[in-house]
Symmetry: C2
Subunit: 535 residues, 2 copies
């Protein structure tokens, strides 16, 4: 462990408000979900006073941080990435204890988190997010001259980020929301997820150290631990917060949307909430490789104890012997599956309740249950119903957060289409098809594109590539805002707004719009993209 | 008048629901605001039945219209532009009668409307709005292969557009909201503004004829006249509507925001609501050309009877003899101003009430009133107060929709800055400065950029160029969504959402993402923009 890691790699249980360490009289603890044992140390319970302090600092940091040059911001993101990598096994082991997730998964998630910060560093350097656009003056145009118009995108303001339970690194303190908000030039106040406060604090310290080393305003980042929903509501209600990034339950997301819409100044909420991620098993694929599909499905379903936003929770196929064979093979794989520890006792209990409630609904049968649960785990489940039942009972489209899915047998393609049409917005929709299915699929793809942010063929939706073309979003209620993605470079646009400068003297223009183009940006001038100088 | 114009150029008082003409038992009329006389004919009062029918058609039209190729959509926009131009003096004279606006202004507005449709046609053809992005598969990448990922932006769904009172052409039936929504591939249901139903119907018929001539689904466009707020609320509440474009009062915009946020599926509302568009008179500029500034200000203030979203309703300067001289010169120009007819009797009455209420507040004086009102007009007004009074009374920052402004005298630059900081979001902020003022202005520009969507130097905010770099937007309460503009090509992004396609067979990809690139788009492939084939 490097010297910096030694300095930052301690868990003290504080809220980190700018440069300050804040403790509170009230405290809470994390628990090992495999054993139920409480973990040391105790953590501060941030409240309205800490929200107030963090938001005041974020607001004070905003003018300078939003105008930092790309190189400075990129280097900070890279330093944060290095700092997190530098935390070494200590971070991984703390995260294992707090989440029950296995080492390899957490190491992979750390690599993704670090890579994501570096991707946003590259993006910031590219300047593409500025979208610099110049319409030069046309002083002799008739009937009226055109003024000189220059547009750029700028940071929207301080952003509240909510850590997610299921990705203690990649969707938490320095995850995609924080990385994209900082890249945009927005200070960030994180409400840490209470299930992994130690993991959160370690990452927060690394991020804070990177910002401090760059000499940036301490208010650019604060970390507020606390177990209550009231903390989150107070953060979203603070008038200095200008946007919200959230990954979590539908109930939690809807509550924050209500708070945000009810403010004197409403603000955008980017809540990624829930989905069942329909998987369509087309006839040719089922016939040719039903067993292989069943194996792949159960692997995807049970990965990470099914605790993924993109978990395949709904399978749809045409009733018949091929679908029955698929169900049988999937059932065998489910029965052979070994339950993983779930993230928290509460999540496990809610999962078991959701499966039991779904299985008890009229017309639903249990096709298979997994083996008996290990410590903190819950058995996987495959339920089954027919399309008519599914269409008559909206509750059957609800998410069971964990390793459970429902298989819906449609009488024919027309009924299958009705099932899709009845679905709410989704993060993903998947087609399993063979060449012979393409004529059927051609009619389905446009329909699926109206329902989901990502359409897959012959794959499984778990596993979200961090890349420019990725969309991890989708129509409501998968997210609160179908115009956005929370994964991939496009995520930065959630935290930007356009500003136009008309006829400003050169000296008063912001750097990216000045004639000397010191940021060396590609700029759209009079409709034509001009490459950066010297490129 | 061409044959088509003769066919489309009749005002029958119908709602146009797709291809159907719908009349209702209940009717309403327009009034000439200069005389108060009712205008023929009587117009249908669209209600829930018409909303239902129009939205059902829009929903049915969406799948095909959203996937029309760029050339088809561009040609429709151009044909609509030609059809509106073709309506000739009949359109202008009807609009004059319904709005009291003078011929030259309406001819200019028609040119802008037609030019705007053509600009969006060019944009659609360019394909830039697709933002086609391809991350090719990396099958041998370690530790995991990368799938083939392809992203495009697609139409969000049917859009409700609300006509504005003050721009019967450019912000109404075929104005910027409709043009950008159609360009994006969204069917549009327009609620016409009840003050100019005849103008609205003429434009609606021209637009409908253009769509019909292209053989597109009739549900792509419907036009609903009606005087009630309930009509608008029913339209926004319809589950098939996926976004809203609105230009109007803050009360109206906030009401639609509430309806949209309260739906089972909340949707984005782009409401451009109100602003006072602060103008800062810096010391050097005041000293050197105070009288010229006063003349320019009053011209901008009284243009179109002050009925612009960007009307300069708030002036701020440092107290002293130069500011007094400016006030005196502006007062003289105000007193010499001749009132124009305002758009409606209701708008005139509310304007006069707003001025009287503002003038009656403690610490506010009337610096000047315009000459006695002509028919339907109201005298311009310049009020005055000091910054301390302004800061203590938030009501002084309210918009008076019409030719009135308040001049705020600050004791010094620190107080001037406090006045700016106290303001809500604005569409524009203007600096009048000389070379000697640049050091002061350098500190103000970033502050203004946090408050407004457009910053101007040494100009007046009325007059909004339709151009790529334009931003006609701004933080709440100027608009409901600071991430957007309602003028300029960027406006199309309000009606688009991203969709990612993962590992789809070529035949199932939408045209803009296929390897053969038949739309001939510039596409970002593996991070590098590839020019269109053959370019």
């Amino acid at each position: 462990m490097s010297k910096q890691a030694a300095e930052t790699g301690a868990i003290r249980g504080s809220a980190l408000i700018g440069a300050a360490e804040v403790t509170t009289e009230e405290t809470f603890q994390a628990f090992d979900p495999a054993t139920g044992a409480a973990l040391e140390p105790r953590f501060a319970v941030a409240g309205t006073r800490e929200v107030e302090a963090a938001c005041a600092l974020a607001d004070a940091a905003f003018p300078s941080f939003s105008e930092t040059d790309p190189e400075t911001r990129a280097q900070v993101l890279e330093a944060a990435a290095a700092g997190i990598a530098d935390l070494g096994p200590f971070l991984i082991e703390r995260a294992m204890a707090e989440t029950g997730l296995p080492r390899a998964r957490l190491e992979g998630e750390r690599a993704r988190t670090v890579g994501q910060l570096r991707l946003f560093a590259d993006l910031v350097r590219s300047g593409a997010w500025v979208r610099a656009t110049i319409d030069p003056a046309l002083p002799v145009r008739q009937p009226l001259p055109r003024p000189d118009l220059r547009r750029r995108h700028v940071a929207i303001g301080p952003v509240a980020v909510f850590g997610a339970s299921n990705f203690p690194l990649a969707f938490s303190v320095a995850g995609g929301d924080t990385a994209s908000a900082l890249a945009a030039g927005c200070p960030v106040v994180v409400k840490g997820h209470p299930a992994h406060p130690g993991t959160g604090e370690l990452v927060a310290r690394a991020l804070r150290a990177a910002l401090a080393a760059a000499g940036l305003h301490a208010g650019v980042f604060s970390y507020l631990p606390g177990p209550s929903d009231a903390l989150g509501a107070a953060l979203v209600a603070d008038p200095r917060i200008k946007a919200v990034g959230f990954t979590g339950s539908r109930g939690g997301g809807l509550a924050l949307m209500r708070v945000a819409a009810g403010r004197p100044e409403p603000i955008p909420v980017y809540a990624e909430m829930s989905a069942v991620n329909p998987v369509l098993l087309l006839p040719g694929a089922l016939r040719d490789r039903g067993t292989a599909l069943a194996t792949g499905f159960v692997q995807s379903l049970t990965l990470g104890a099914g605790q993924f936003c993109t978990n395949p929770g709904l399978l749809i196929g045409i009733a018949g012997p091929e679908l029955d064979a698929f169900a049988e093979a999937a059932g065998a794989a489910i029965r052979a599956s070994v339950p993983h520890t779930m993230l928290t006792a509460d999540i496990r209990d809610r999962f078991q309740h959701a499966v039991a409630a779904m299985a008890a609904r009229p017309g639903v049968t249990v096709a298979a249950r997994g083996g008996s649960a290990g410590p903190g785990g819950a058995p996987a489940a495959l339920l089954r119903t027919d399309a008519r039942t599914f269409l008559a009972d909206p509750a059957l489209a609800d998410e069971m957060f964990g390793p459970a899915a429902i298989l819906v047998a449609a009488a024919d393609m027309a009924e299958l289409i009705r099932v899709i049409e009845a679905l709410g917005g989704q993060l993903t929709a998947t087609l399993h098809l063979d060449r012979a299915d393409e004529h059927l699929a051609a009619g389905l793809v446009p329909l699926l594109a109206r329902k989901a942010g990502r359409i897959l063929a012959n794959g499984w939706p778990t596993g979200v590539e961090v890349a420019p073309a990725m969309v991890h979003g989708g129509p409501f209620p998968a997210t609160s805002d179908s115009r956005s993605t929370s994964v991939g470079t496009l995520a930065i646009e959630r935290f930007l707004r356009p500003v136009c400068y008309q006829d400003l003297p050169d000296a008063l223009l912001p750097a990216p719009l000045r004639p000397d183009n010191t940021w060396r940006l590609a700029r759209r001038i009079d409709g034509v993209v001009n490459p950066p100088p010297g490129s």
